[in-house]
Amino acid sequence: MTLTAADVDRIIALLDASHFDRLSLEIGDLKLDLARSGAAPAAPKPVPVAMPEPVVVPPPAAPVVREAGLIEAKSPLLGIYYRAPRPGEPPFVEVGARVEPESIIGIIEVMKLMNTARAGVSGEVVEIVARNGELVEHGEVLLLVRPDR
């Protein structure tokens, strides 16, 4: 199954005329994600780790581009931010590391439930903003990424 540009235009028009902010369409292998400008993107969706059942976590607000062209990777939910999978282990990412949208950049703990935070962008980590072991709120900046050109 393929979608032509005209099909996509029609689907966009459908979303535009609706009161929804997002549309996710999956037909077989084909996946189409549409979001109104200002609405959070449907991906990346943080996937919980080390948990008995998946917790549906809404995606973080859309990455905001700073003046310097850096992108903020934000926490998808309120919780305690951990840079490493376990105490004593190396952090998921360091300054200078390359990340892809699906790269894990930290763990957000909510009452002993561990959720993963992902970069949501491709590029190089420029700064780790959030402090290990401290509370971050929903949408708080975890790190800054210089996106690929």
């Binding site: 309120l78 919780g79 009452m111 439930l113 509370l135």
Partner: protein, 466 residues
């Protein structure tokens, strides 16, 4: 619990609350912050993305975003709320009303994590949240209940219906506040309606149990405010008449209840105290009664284990800050006054202002409030989070303000309330302000003592006249 050696009123292991997490929004968040400021308590407000710019967020010492606008992703997340309180070093959580206020799992998680829950114990929330258990507790406390009872099968229901007679209300054990009720007008319909009610209750509350009660057609909704210290001592702070309701949603509340025989009033107060004392109830709570006017009889409906929307009318006549008392009780202090020290002066009436359009069958009208002017003056109080430019998101309750008037008499309070509403201006969104003014101008309301059918008849008459 050990009493302190002196007579300071504190329990020896009482703990002072220095920082409080508010797990709510809107006017009640603002209301709680005001009392905290007066008490020198720091506040941390949990907000959704839609409420980052709210008045409460501007007033709180710290704001933490819990999640997206949808309540299920922010305000209703028990773990997130407790994590936010722990992570911001709060000593206690105030749940306000609605949202998580009557969730035993929140109270229980607080108990486990050593955070003070400002409210009753988890067990007490469960005891009153299950309407069948609450009904049984009322019977044990010698509090009158509406003739009826549990029915596990349609055979049992038929037998019970023969005793209590139709019309009958089928109520969900997990319901309350007008939710999960069905009216049976003829005995033949009982089986079918019970099955439907049970299936709906299962879907809505995760609890299929239903029970039957005789339907009292012309009743008044009268509730008694109580405070308990958790050790069996309970005082009441008088009653509130909340009979002006549209589809079980209260619109106007007042105290004292007009034209209630003195003996009945006293009996209601005593019944509420008995009920709460039997549970060793802790904190502020409200025992709701249905008052059958022609029979001058009252029946237990349910207990609300939280602060009520309409608490300001009680504060107006008693001069007691109920939020401050909730905090003191949560800190482990004993009740700070005796029953004899509670005096009710004058009368107070509260009018709820909702962002809903009476012209469109009271449909919610979210949007941005372009400009607002709230009233002031002797005896007038406004509890609101709405200021110029405030957003009314579509995700939450439509109530935007409560205007409360207090006066030496009911007539004086009503006159002040009418003047106050006349001074109120809300631009940018449709509200029920003008509608509320017409209700307050109604001669039956002015006389006082209307029943819960009053507003329905008022609306019908308006439709015919319009």
């Amino acid at each position: 619990m050990a009493r302190c050696c002196c007579s300071c009123g504190r329990i020896a292991d009482a703990v002072g609350i220095g920082r409080l997490f508010i797990a709510n929004r809107g006017e009640i968040a603002v209301r709680i912050i005001r009392t905290c400021r007066a008490l020198g308590i720091e506040t941390v407000l949990g907000v959704s993305e839609a409420d980052r710019g709210s008045l409460g967020a501007q007033m709180a010492d710290r704001v933490l975003c819990l999640g997206p606008a949808q309540p299920s992703l922010s305000y209703l997340r028990v773990e997130t709320v407790v994590q936010a309180a722990l992570g911001s070093s709060c000593d206690a959580i105030h749940p306000g009303y609605g949202f998580l206020s009557e969730r035993a799992d929140l109270a229980r998680l607080c108990e486990a994590e050593g955070v003070i829950f400002i409210g009753p114990t988890a067990d007490q929330i469960e005891a009153v949240g299950d309407k069948l258990r609450a009904r049984a507790a009322a019977v044990e406390a010698g509090v009158p209940v509406i003739p009826g009872g549990a029915a596990a099968s349609s055979e049992e229901a038929r037998a019970l219906a023969e005793i209590i007679g139709v019309p009958i209300l089928v109520k969900a054990a997990g319901g309350g506040g007008g939710r999960g009720m069905k009216l049976v007008e003829t005995a033949e319909d009982l089986g079918a309606i019970m099955d439907m009610a049970s299936a709906e209750a299962e879907a809505a509350f995760g609890d299929a149990r239903v029970y039957l009660e005789r339907y009292v057609a012309t009743g008044r909704h009268i509730e008694v405010q109580v405070l308990g210290d958790g050790a069996g001592r309970v005082v009441h702070l008088g009653e509130r008449d909340c009979s002006v309701q549209r589809r079980y949603q209260k619109l106007i509340e007042e105290t004292p209840a007009p034209h209630l025989p003195a003996a009945t009033r006293a009996a209601m107060h005593e019944a509420a105290v008995r009920f709460a004392a039997r549970l060793s109830y802790r904190g502020a709570g409200t025992v709701e009664f249905l008052y059958d006017t022609p029979r001058d009889a009252f029946y237990f409906l349910e207990m609300n284990a939280r602060i009520q929307v309409e608490h300001p009318v009680t504060e107006a006549v008693t001069g007691i800050d109920l939020i401050a008392e909730q905090i003191a009780i949560a800190e482990g202090q004993r009740l700070r006054f005796t029953q004899a020290e509670v005096a009710c002066e004058g009368a107070a009436i509260e009018c709820r202002i909702n962002a809903e359009d009476p012209e469109r069958d009271f449909a919610p009208s979210p949007g941005i409030v372009a400009a607002v002017r709230w009233p002031s003056g002797d005896g007038v109080r406004v509890d609101s989070h709405i200021v110029d430019g405030a957003r009314i998101p579509p995700f939450y309750d439509s109530m935007i303000a409560k205007v409360i008037a207090h006066g030496p008499s009911r007539a004086a309070a009503l006159a002040r309330l009418r003047t106050a509403l006349g001074e109120t201006r809300i631009e940018g969104v449709a509200t029920n302000l003008a509608f509320q003014q017409t209700v307050l101008a109604d001669p039956d309301f002015a006389t006082g003592g209307v029943d819960t059918g009053f507003l329905g008849r008022f609306l019908e008459a308006a439709k015919v006249a319009g």
